[in-house]
């Protein structure tokens, strides 16, 4: 591999790699505090991984699965939809969390895995429970074992409902014989294709059907039952007998059969390769090198799918700290980083959620929050994000952010204006930008940020919006 373009970890250049490629963007003061000692930035990323609670959401207002499920199953009529309030509450809690970490590597991992197991809130039940999956399964296992995350998600009522396994009945089970109902193979197919071995991973239609048989009976309690909304193994709908998936027979009793199949799939070498490939694709490059994919896959296999070890290795890949950064950051990462750049803290979370999401800014950029309509999640390839319309909308989103969140929401002449009080250095845009991305700004950017502004109604905000649409801030 060429040495050209490789910046040694810890150099001033890699501030952008750490914060843009692996993080959620710099917060005022942090890049300077982390410093430019050799390896300081990678060490800061590792520090987040080594904090066992980094991913957890400790918001006592968030609800149990039973409470969420009840709301999802309960009446939600136009004009009175408790499910929408719950969905908003969950999402606001994430926007609060995003303002907190130093770099945000763990939060980016959570976003990656949430997209890997992409859910869509079209049904009220999924809407009510999808926050719970992210909170209690993905966040809990993001630095743990993939097999635990996989089993947790596939058995979660939100996923069962999303891929419609709740009514999938074994054809010769007691219930199948009585009702003549049968299989729904949706969850089984996507488990193979998206969540484990991946397409071309060596499975056949028979493997799909057999895994669907194995997963029959994985359902959740209905409104009329005790503990509504929670997972339930319905033995009377479970197809009896042993089934072969990818060369292994599973004959364990009841639910254990499915758990064993998921354990086998999580440990499969094709799954290791698939996950390694996806991580490199998301974080580093559109064209992962076979060598790095096998390096990362090997760590996955050696550690039994330890996602913390895999994330550490991701930071050690030869291309991890390569420059230039030439892929567009995805809209969610980029918009959250605008909020972090101006120093917003969690008190602004509700407002961020409303403006970014409900006002249509993220939807316009084709990146609605927790709202991808397809189970394969949002794509990672740059070509999906980099379009004429998207570039125009990035400019307008930077404008809308600065105008709405900094000028209208925080009136300029209000003495308690949040950012005026907290971030007086904002009045010197070039200096402010250099504090955020020390040593990383191009001469063209500095020239524009230093230019006087006589045509707009204030000196600062258009400059700030400008910073957000520079390649230095847009790219990862």
């Amino acid at each position: 591999m060429s040495r050209r373009g490789v910046s040694p970890p810890g150099s001033a250049q890699s501030v952008r790699v750490a914060f843009m490629r692996f993080g959620l963007g710099p917060k005022p003061g942090w890049p300077v505090r982390i410093g430019t000692a050799p390896d300081a930035l990678r060490t800061a990323c590792l520090r987040e991984l080594n904090n066992p609670g980094a991913a957890l959401l400790n918001d006592p207002g968030l609800r149990t699965l039973e409470e969420c499920g009840l709301i999802g199953l309960g009446p939600n009529m136009p004009g009175n939809r408790p499910v929408d309030g719950l969905f908003t509450q969950e999402r606001v809690a994430r926007f609060a969390k995003y303002t907190e970490p130093e770099i945000g590597f763990v939060e980016r991992l959570v976003m990656f895995w949430t997209n890997h197991f992409s859910l869509f809130p079209a049904s009220d039940f999924v809407r009510a429970t999808m926050g719970h999956v992210e909170r209690e399964v993905i966040r809990k296992h993001v630095l743990g074992k993939y097999s635990d995350m996989l089993k947790g998600v596939i058995s979660h009522p939100a996923m069962i409902r999303r891929l419609e396994n709740q009514n999938s009945i074994g054809p010769t089970s007691a219930e199948g014989r009585r009702t003549r109902r049968g299989l729904n193979e949706n969850l089984a197919r996507e488990t193979l294709e998206l969540y484990t071995v991946g397409v071309n991973g060596g499975y056949t239609q028979a493997d799909v059907t057999n895994l669907a048989m194995i997963l029959t009976g994985w359902t959740f309690r209905r409104a009329s039952e005790p503990k509504p909304g929670t997972f339930f193994f319905n033995a009377s709908g479970h197809e009896p007998g042993a089934f072969n998936v990818m060369g292994r027979s599973f004959g364990e009793p009841g639910q254990a059969k499915g758990l064993a199949a998921l354990d086998m799939l999580a440990a499969h070498p094709r799954t290791a390769e698939h996950i390694a490939y996806k991580l490199i694709l998301h974080f580093i490059t559109d064209t992962p090198s076979p060598r790095s994919v096998s390096t990362l896959a090997l760590v996955y296999r050696r550690t039994g799918g330890d996602l913390k070890a895999v994330a550490q290795e991701l930071l050690n890949l030869p291309e991890a700290w390569n420059e230039p950064l030439n892929r567009l950051r995805q809209p969610q990462e980029w918009m959250i980083s605008m909020a972090r750049a101006v120093g917003f803290d969690k008190s602004k979370a509700e407002r961020l959620h409303t403006r970014f999401n409900n006002w249509g800014w993220l939807p316009a950029l084709n990146h609605s929050y927790w709202h991808c309509p397809t189970p394969n999640g949002y794509p990672d390839l740059n070509s999906f994000w980099l379009t004429p319309n998207a570039m125009r909308l990035r400019r307008d989103a930077a404008f809308a952010f600065c105008q709405q969140l900094l000028q209208v929401d925080e009136p300029w002449n209000n003495p308690s204006n949040y950012w005026r009080v907290n971030r007086p250095e904002l009045t010197k845009p070039a200096q402010f930008a250099q504090g955020l991305l020390p040593g990383s700004l191009s001469p063209a950017t500095l020239l524009e940020l230093e230019a006087p502004n006589s045509r707009d109604d204030n000196q600062v905000l258009p400059h700030l919006a400008l910073l957000f649409v520079t390649p230095e801030f847009l790219n990862k």
């Binding site: 076979p290 307008d396 707009d456 258009p462």
Partner: protein, 448 residues
């Protein structure tokens, strides 16, 4: 200009068309990006009266993502097996359209177009890759490549690269509506527009500063930005007389119609509608979504005005569904399905089939799915040949390795004479691709 656009057109479109400056800038910018000669883009300013009928052709490809159940749209009601297998899942209203098939009458606009001779069906169709994976089959449908060949560009994009210079479709370009589909990815630049929006920046400092910074440090970003700004300005200048709707699909059809109808707007557009994956309770959801699609087609016809006469709309999906109803009152991923054609140029009132396989157990694909006897590439090639007059040599460059898949015939009312083209072959299957790239990676590994 106006003599070619009589009073049939809603007047705001006429107004915009006669202003003529925004769209010229749109094209100028795009050509500048391509680095083409001044003599070439001057074509865009040629008097409209000089344009022959052939220069008016429009093509919209609608990709229905999720796998549409062709047996619900156009069931073979003459087949007792259908009536038996689907007995509780037969659409409430059906209208017989030929000896074998009926059309789901919930699609009122499409049915009207069909009876007027402006719409047709193709039944028993599927892309060459038949593995029941949404994402792989969508990519295969949009790439236009043989089964198992990985895609990095889409066939509509390769079409732009292959068309002879000066061909009106190539000059006016293509448009993507909403998220970027693979079908339009590739080496040729395309315009993009979406129904969602964000307040437009009116800060001069920002608007000029971004151009200077990107111009100095990221010219490719700047070119995209300029194209995006101009398409948006152009689209804003267009309007129609339809009552506002909150349906994203219908607004997408209206936007596509307005942009396609404009004399100097794009001639090709692609839009994707995700739904159709009816594993559960399909009777309800499918009726609702088909009705919205149908309203969208009606809106499209209205917004296109006189240009509808020159239009072919092709609606395709990545696969059909299982013939039998599954355990949850829905259908699982299958193979063969239906495609629709609509538009004033379509030779309508017919169902195209080839060796219709029927629903007997022995004829089902893998004992479960409607067998596909028509390759979607045959449909696409047929539309391009008859609508745009393209010869087989060119079509086989747009659809590599498709020599054994001849174009379908009889799709268009007055087929354009086929003009032999000199080999241009700028097209490449290289570039960027969309989803599930692990498969591409694995294929490269296997071939090394």
């Amino acid at each position: 200009m106006s003599e070619h656009h009589p009073a049939l057109l809603p007047s705001p479109i006429l107004d915009t068309a006669s202003e003529g400056c925004e769209e010229s800038r749109l094209l100028l910018s795009r050509r500048a990006m391509l680095g083409m000669s001044a003599g070439f883009f001057a074509w865009a300013f040629a008097p409209r009266t000089a344009e022959a009928e052939a220069n008016q052709k429009r093509l919209l490809v609608v990709v229905l993502r999720g796998g549409l159940d062709g047996l619900h749209v156009a069931p073979p009601v003459s087949d007792p097996l259908y009536l038996d297998i689907r007995r509780n899942f037969i659409p409430a209203q059906l209208e017989k359209v030929d000896a074998t098939f009926s059309l789901n009458a919930e699609m009122t606009n499409f049915l009207r177009m069909y009876k007027q001779g402006d719409a047709a069906l193709v039944h028993g169709v599927a892309p060459p890759l038949r593995i029941r994976s949404h994402f792989e089959c969508q990519d295969n449908l949009e790439s236009g490549l043989p089964a198992g060949v990985r895609a990095t560009s889409g066939w509509l994009n390769r079409l732009l690269s292959e068309l002879p210079r000066g061909n009106p479709v190539q000059v006016h370009g293509a448009l993507e509506i909403g998220p970027k589909p693979l079908i339009l990815q590739g080496p040729s630049p395309v315009l993009s527009w979406s129904t969602n929006s964000i307040p437009r920046s009116n800060w001069a400092r920002l608007n000029t500063g971004i151009e200077r910074i990107l111009g100095a440090t990221a010219p490719a970003y700047n070119a995209l930005l300029q194209s995006g700004i101009r398409t948006d300005e152009f689209a804003r200048g267009l309007s129609d007389s339809l009552a506002p709707t909150t349906s994203g699909w219908r607004n997408a059809f209206r936007g596509a119609g307005r942009l396609l109808a404009s004399p100097t707007g794009p001639r090709i557009a692609a839009l994707t509608l995700s739904a159709w994956d009816t594993h559960e309770s399909q009777m309800f959801g499918l009726s609702r979504d088909l009705a919205t699609l149908d309203q969208g087609l009606g809106d499209l016809q209205q917004t296109m005005g006189a240009a509808w006469r020159h239009t072919v709309v092709v609606c395709v999906t990545e696969f059909g569904r299982t013939v039998r109803i599954n355990g949850t009152n829905g259908t699982d991923h299958g193979v063969g399905t239906v495609a629709f054609l609509a538009g004033g140029s379509v030779l309508g009132n017919r169902v195209h089939t080839r060796n219709w396989a029927g629903l007997s157990q022995a004829n089902l694909q893998d004992g479960r799915d409607l067998r596909a006897t028509i390759d979607t590439r045959a449909l696409f090639k047929g539309v391009l040949q008859e609508h745009l007059g393209l010869d087989n040599a060119l079509l086989n460059r747009v659809f590599p390795q498709s020599e054994t898949v001849p174009p379908l015939r009889g799709l268009v009312k007055s087929p354009e004479p086929v003009v032999a083209t000199a080999g241009r072959s700028q097209a490449t299957t290289g570039g960027q691709r969309a989803e599930a790239p692990i498969s591409q990676f694995r294929q490269q590994q296997a071939s090394m």
